[in-house]
Subunit: 264 residues, 2 copies
């Protein structure tokens, strides 16, 4: 029996024990947070070739957020093989995904992501949920996919540094920042920015104290070993090599972006 | 066909095209790195109730590291449900896992991790691979499991802040740091520290320039929104609430640690 209790359930159990019967502003010890009347439905797209960490950074945060119901959504429920060979199992098909959802989320990846910009079923799903969602969100090149669904037109947004210059082709205003919030659009930069992004959203959902507690639980006190995590910080040889590596992807993203605006 | 090309393969293809035929010190553009004569075998334990981000942080880095062959190892190959409901598919059973491996890795989690400290099959597997591995490694409370296998005795180590005081019970010397390297043991702190950890190991395997390039690829330029990612930084109400939440886990970890030293 003990084997089935997870850290999340432990936390939830403790807080439920304390907060039982209260629905709105709640205190646990000296920290304050808000609980929703009903669970927040969070739909996270998963797809073959995606970058696992784009998803799992925010998924871990949402998973630790009480009152959030996280769905991993794809066309089928067969395991999806990510860009480094890690397989993740979807929990809902497009048809099974709640409608409306509170949050729709799209992770990035390599060429698979570019191809997804042209995938009619995915675009239709994102438009249907995105137009009614409380928050429309992405990490990394996932922004290009929500952009291809027309959901970033007129909004400030960011994406992985290697494809940031594609955003204006999708009608978005490019902002060079780790997380960009513009009304109900929240987009994040490359891969690891999903953690910063997730914590900010958790704080929106449950209050800043809750975000602070999760940041401590995740021990998010980063010490990047090389201080080369942005184009500006890397510079020189490292940046030029990586730019060269990403150039073919950038070219294809531009092409797909132009095609998507014609299709809409 | 295009749908099957991932970012990783793109990078690999570009570098292989440049570096073809060379095995040792290699250059791509102006960055230098080393390639091994044969792939490095990296065995990453996965198990029900584990924390997905403990695994996926370093797995994403290793997956982008050329010449690394990453195995996700468990008793069966059925999907493993992590502590927030995300399911990951193991790729090898204990019996199928290469022997020896270059790197053995254990992620953490909640009570499931504590129970794993008492699991004879897992401990036997970790001892068998750990005694011959080039690097014995962990993120988060995974350190308690390698410690229960006797692999941290006499070594400096770290783990998630909430269970750091358990390390001495396993014969390890507790160090309060994000990543601790002592000879061939590399242990990291809570959950998100796996990214810092992964980058450091990639640099050990392929050289510092390679680590710098991966840090840029992952856009690891963190901006934690609340600056509460360590007990020292959080302090006050947030720390006291989280300590209280983790106390039952800490108690059980202490008990399991004491039992494990008697069992060995």
């Amino acid at each position: 029996m003990m084997q089935k209790i997870t850290r999340r359930e432990l936390g939830a159990a403790l807080v439920i024990a304390t907060a039982a019967g209260r629905r709105a502003a709640t205190r646990y010890g000296r920290i304050k947070y808000t609980m929703p009347d009903k669970p927040k439905e969070i739909a996270m797209l998963v797809y073959p070739g995606m970058t696992a960490l784009d998803l799992v950074g925010p998924q871990q945060v949402f998973g630790y957020t009480m009152g959030a119901r996280v769905h991993l959504v794809w066309k089928t429920k067969l395991p999806v093989v990510t860009d480094t060979g890690l397989s993740i199992v979807p929990t809902k098909t497009f048809a099974e995904c709640p409608d409306p959802v509170d949050i729709i989320f799209v992770p990035g990846g390599g060429l698979a992501t570019i191809n997804l910009m042209k995938d009619a079923d995915t675009i239709a799903f994102l438009k249907s949920r995105g137009e009614k969602a409380r928050l429309v969100t992405s990490v990394c090149s996932g922004a290009l996919v929500i952009g291809a669904a027309g959901l970033l037109r007129g909004y400030q947004a960011t994406t992985h540094w290697a494809v940031r210059d594609v955003l204006p082709l999708l009608g978005a205003k490019r902002v060079d920042a780790r997380v960009v919030e513009d009304r109900n659009r929240i987009t994040a930069g490359g891969i690891t920015s999903g953690i910063d992004f997730g914590l900010r959203i958790a704080a929106r959902l449950r209050g800043e104290d809750y975000g602070r507690a999760l940041e401590l639980q995740l021990e998010y006190d980063p010490q990047p070993p090389f201080h080369t995590g942005s184009p500006e910080k890397a510079g020189g040889a490292v940046l030029s090599v990586m730019k060269q590596m990403f150039q073919p992807l950038n070219d294809m993203a531009r092409e797909a972006a132009i095609a998507s605006t014609k299709a809409l």
